[in-house]
Structure formats: C-alpha cells, structure tokens
Symmetry: C2
Subunit: 191 residues, 2 copies
C-alpha cells in the first residue's frame, strides 16, 4: 500500500534492538485519513482472497483498535478487542491466552468474553504490527477456543526480520501485511 | 443522541456498586456504525458551541480510542491517545499524570509524548465514560502541561450518579455527553 509505505519510509525511526517507532501516525498519534484507507485496503485484499460472510473483526487493545475499527467500518460488522486485564464487567468464563507485553517485555494475558465470540462467527484478525507473532498467536488461540472460523490475518506493518510470518505460516488463511520493514546493517528497508 | 440512548436502554446491565456494563457496543465489542454516528454527533455539538480551529482529538487508551477515532475522522485531524505505560518508543520527557485504573481500581499513570501535544494545539478530549471524572482530570493535566488550548470535552456515556460533571464543572469549556445514566433505587435510568 503505497501511501503507507511512503509514510513509514518518511517517519519510521529505528531505535535499535529491533524496535521501530511509528508513533506519529499509527500507535500513539493516529492519522485517521491514512487509517481509514488502511481499513479499506485490508477489506479489498481479504475480498480478493475469497473471504466472505465475515461477521466480526478481532484485535487486541490498545494499538490494534484504530486499524481494526477502520476495517470493521467498511462492512459495518462489529469490532471485538481483546482486553489485557479482565475487566470487572467480563464474566469469569472468558477465553484467555498468554502473550508478551510489548511495552514491558513481560508475560501478559489477553481476555475475550465468550459472549461475543462463538462458533457461529467468521472473523479476521487485525493488528498494527506483526513482529515475532506472539500477539497474533494469542489471538489465534482465543479464536480457536471459541470455535469461530478464521478467514484471514492482517497487520499494518510487518517486521520481516522478526520472523513472525514463518512462525504463523501454517495456518492456511491469507496473511496480509500492508508495509514491510526489514533491517539491513541496522538500517530500515521499507517495501 | 437518541440512537445511543435506545442502545444503552436495551443493552446496559447494572452490576451493582455503580458499575454499568455496555461492552456489547462500546468498550469490548464495538459497533462501528453507532460509533461513526457518535463521532459525527460530537463534532456537530462542538461546532454548535463555537469550537473552531481544532487540531487534535485527545483520549486515553484503550476504550477511548474507538469514539475518539470516529470523532477525529470527521475533520481528518490526528487522534492522540495517552498510554497507560510509557512505551520504550516514548522519550523520557513525556507528559504524565496520575489517574485510577478503571479495571483494577489502583493508581495508574497516563503518558503523552511532548512531541505530539504542544502549545500550538487546539484540542478536544473524548472518552467513553464520564464517571467520577478521574481519567478526564488526568487528561486535563496532560493538556495543561503541554500548553495546548482546550476547546471541549466529550463523553459517550455520563454516569450522572458519580458526580464527575460537578468535579470538572469549572473548566469553562463545553462538556458534551451523548447519553446519561442515573441510578434510582439500584435501577438504571437512561436519558
């Protein structure tokens, strides 16, 4: 997606240790014009891949919410975001899966109410980044626990050098990334 | 906002101790059609109140992101969401303010990069709930630290019985709520 690739080329900053900062338009400050186009592009790609009958877009709080919301808007289907704490309003029979906190590097858990994800759902998973794939693996586990059908995965930016695609590679559904970042001699290559 | 008021009347569940569950359309599962209308309604109300020259919509992760994104979409201005942990990508000179974790009831902090909120900004604050006003007070502190001009506050649902409006009442800008919930003999009254 050319507009996104250009934006990543212009604004992404490499901080070392594999960490890329894109907080000017994606995961702290958010550009709604770009994100709206990103949602439309995800849905175009999923439709091309034959995904149909989608009932829900699933993501994890917090940085997945904006791109997932923009994607859900295209078809008007609900967005469901996994919580990182079980709120007092969530029943105790919630689905849960272990992941890693991206901000703290510690083990963390995702929670989804079993009321909102069921075997009747047909879902795509959306996230801002595909890095090592840990968060998406946890989301895949939540979907599997619910019995919902998985139709596709989408990430806004794929950090190719972290190998998440290979780790998730055998799931048998389209895995869409709209911009890719690789590292060559500690320099970002965006494509 | 009648469509929202009807939705709250139909779906909100009172769990006792002042806690209202609206996670079927607002803060776990999200209805993008309703939220898009909510964003438009916030902007219509702010415009009526004479807010102009808005440069940014500010909220706090995670449940503020969807309504704030829908609001920012209307004018195409950036959305900025305060983080609850300082990410490794955020400079150490970030603005920070103390609040309470809504899920855990413990003290928590909000962080905003000083790069994205400055004295040149003219902002509105958006959140999903106005309860005791603690989160909005922390956001007001972040805006004050930045020197940005505050043009208005908006919350999707105001829990009248928690008194947040009175606590925030002297800030001198429009404070918009699109649905209000009060408690009479442990029964929700929505208007």
């Amino acid at each position: 997606m050319q507009a996104l690739i250009e934006r990543v080329r212009t604004e992404a900053v490499y901080l070392g240790k594999g960490i890329v900062k894109v907080d000017g338009f994606l995961n702290h400050q958010v550009d709604p014009v770009l994100l709206t186009a990103i949602g439309a592009e995800f849905m175009r790609r999923f439709a091309e891949s034959g995904c149909d009958g989608l009932t829900k877009v699933v993501t994890a709080e917090a940085s997945g919410i904006a791109p997932a919301f923009a994607t859900a808007q295209v078809l008007g289907v609900p967005l469901l975001y996994a919580r990182k704490q079980r709120p007092v309003t969530m029943p105790e029979d919630a689905y849960t899966a272990e992941t890693l906190s991206r901000t703290r590097g510690e083990p963390a858990r995702l929670f989804v109410s079993s009321r909102y994800l069921t075997a009747r759902d047909r879902v795509v998973l959306i996230d801002d980044f595909l890095g090592t794939g840990t968060t998406l693996q946890a989301m895949l586990s939540l979907v599997a626990q619910s019995g919902a059908a998985l139709l596709g995965l989408g990430c806004v930016v794929e950090k190719v050098y972290e190998g998440g695609r290979d780790r998730l590679g055998t799931i048998g559904v389209p895995m869409v990334s709209l911009a890719r970042i690789d590292l060559v001699d500690d320099t970002l290559v965006v494509y």
